[in-house]
């Protein structure tokens, strides 16, 4: 029973992480009772669980996830949505129109056209079927204003912070509403363009320095400094 790396150390695929009574977590695999890493990332030992926080990854859909996507195709019965995943998502017409849909009467392109952005929830997904989206909930649907940011999906938990500390701090400091798509796409809507820029700046900083400690404090400080600087230049 032993581990071979310091916690939060950078590992590459194939590195032997632990041997013996450990549980293999994310981005690891077991062979001959030994746990190896399968992605480039930072290793974490939590109780008996060994996992790797990947530094680069792609989004794999999970039912219940909120995602942000772009309409990539308007079909007869619904839309195909690009959700930055290996799999394209499907959004059915009946789901959006909230009533039975008649192909003769309804023009789907008038409801959602190519290139439109939507906030949606993954309704169902498994290995054999492409993910199906739903917008049948408050807060979901077409995006009409704001800014879009894209980061690596594995870094979304860092933007949220411990019990949402990071995201609520950014919301409070900038006065923006922020929706985090678990596929790595982020929507920022604020009162002014400057507010949105400020929030985007904070998220970029988190993306770049995601594995460093004490990040919340530094982002808070950066936001406050930036705010006073901007107020100063206005006068």
């Amino acid at each position: 029973m032993s581990t071979f790396f310091e916690p939060r150390q950078l590992v590459t695929p194939g590195d032997l992480l632990a041997e013996g009574e450990y549980i293999a977590g994310e981005n690891t695999y077991v062979e001959d009772k030994k746990i190896y890493g399968s992605r480039v990332g930072l290793v974490e030992y939590e109780n008996k669980k060994v996992s790797v926080v990947a530094l680069k990854s792609f989004y794999i859909p999970k039912p219940g996830d909120i995602v942000i996507g772009t309409i990539s195709e308007v079909g007869f019965k619904g839309w195909t949505v690009n959700i930055h995943s290996p799999y394209p998502a499907i959004l059915r017409a009946g789901d959006v129109l909230n009533r039975s849909f008649k192909p003769q009467k309804d023009d789907l392109a008038q409801v959602l056209d190519m290139g439109d952005l939507i906030v949606a929830k993954i309704g169902s997904y498994d290995r054999t079927h492409d993910p199906q989206l739903t917008v049948d909930e408050p807060g979901l649907g077409k995006i009409t204003r704001g800014q879009i940011l894209t980061i690596t999906p594995t870094k979304i938990p860092r933007v949220i912070g411990r019990k949402g500390s990071m995201i609520s701090m950014i919301k409070q400091e900038t006065g923006c509403n922020i929706i985090l798509g678990l596929n790595g796409v982020i929507l920022i809507t604020g009162k002014t363009y400057e507010d949105e820029e400020l929030a985007a700046m904070a998220i970029h900083k988190i993306d770049e320095e995601s594995h460093t400690s004490g990040l919340t404090d530094r982002v808070t400080q950066m936001l406050k400094e930036e705010k006073t600087k901007r107020e100063g230049s206005k006068k």
Binding site: L10, G14, L16, S38, K56, F58, P86, Y87, E209
Partner: protein, 244 residues
């Protein structure tokens, strides 16, 4: 064209470029140099210059090629027309089609293919300058590009060749040694799992020589493997420095 050298190994046992029998050529590797690709790598091994781009996992087009139980891995090994002395036709030659297959099969065991059914991972290998042993350098770089793309893998794959030149077994053949030598044995390896994913032989060796060649190639692989890991980590070093 260059004249044919008289001897591939001189009296002191040194090779044409001054290497000893168990020396590698100088290797330089870079990772993540193509922003448009999901993952990429560039390798220089001696006079070889090879660029690799990885796209995916992504939707399969045309759709009928998709596999229902695992990822499809597509590999394209291609030599640029200017990569060799005599212009090479840009159309895929018999040799390139075969090498694409061989490289694909040496990478496949390292990837968790069953994780993402109905998708494809495309690997594009572009040889900009060739100097013998391009298949090995291609495998080394392609594996790094896959890791850079975030594809889950059992281990990095690293490849290196050994062969017989004159009377002795030597490591990492260059172009002249490959053409005028007696045998060439390319080996691809997953070092942590100690598993060979590619083993070929071109030429004639007796059993003892063959064993020597394979062991020498594995030694060479392990040296390159250390470089591979270092380069992959170096991409994130600036991030680590911010922490200190």
């Amino acid at each position: 064209m260059n004249e044919k050298p008289e001897k591939l190994i001189d009296k002191k046992g040194l090779r044409l470029d001054g290497r000893k029998s168990n020396d590698l050529r100088p290797v330089k590797i870079e990772v993540g140099i193509l922003p448009n690709a999901d993952g990429s790598a560039y390798i220089e091994q001696g006079k070889n210059k090879i660029l690799v781009a990885v796209y995916g996992p992504r939707e399969v087009h045309p759709k009928h090629l998709a596999l229902q139980d695992k990822t499809l891995l597509r590999c394209r090994y291609h030599m640029a027309p200017f990569s060799v002395q005599e212009r090479k036709s840009p159309a895929p030659s018999r040799r390139e089609v075969e090498l694409s297959k061989v490289i694909r099969e040496s990478l496949e065991p390292s990837i968790f293919m069953e994780y993402y059914p109905r998708t494809v991972i495309d690997v594009f290998i572009e040889v900009l300058q060739a100097d013998g042993g391009t298949r090995c350098a291609s495998i080394t770089a392609a594996s790094l590009a896959l890791a850079d793309a975030g594809v889950p893998m059992r281990d990095l794959v690293v490849a290196c060749a050994a062969g017989k030149v004159g009377d002795i077994v030597v490591l990492d053949l260059m172009d002249e040694e490959d053409k005028l030598g007696l045998a060439d044995v390319p080996v691809a390896l997953m070092p942590n799992l100690n598993a060979i994913t590619l083993l070929q032989m071109d030429g004639a060796l007796n059993l003892e020589e063959f064993e020597n060649a394979v062991n020498l190639a594995i030694e060479g692989c392990k040296k390159i493997y250390e470089m591979q890991k270092e380069v992959l980590k170096a991409k994130y070093v600036n991030v680590k420095e911010a922490e200190d």
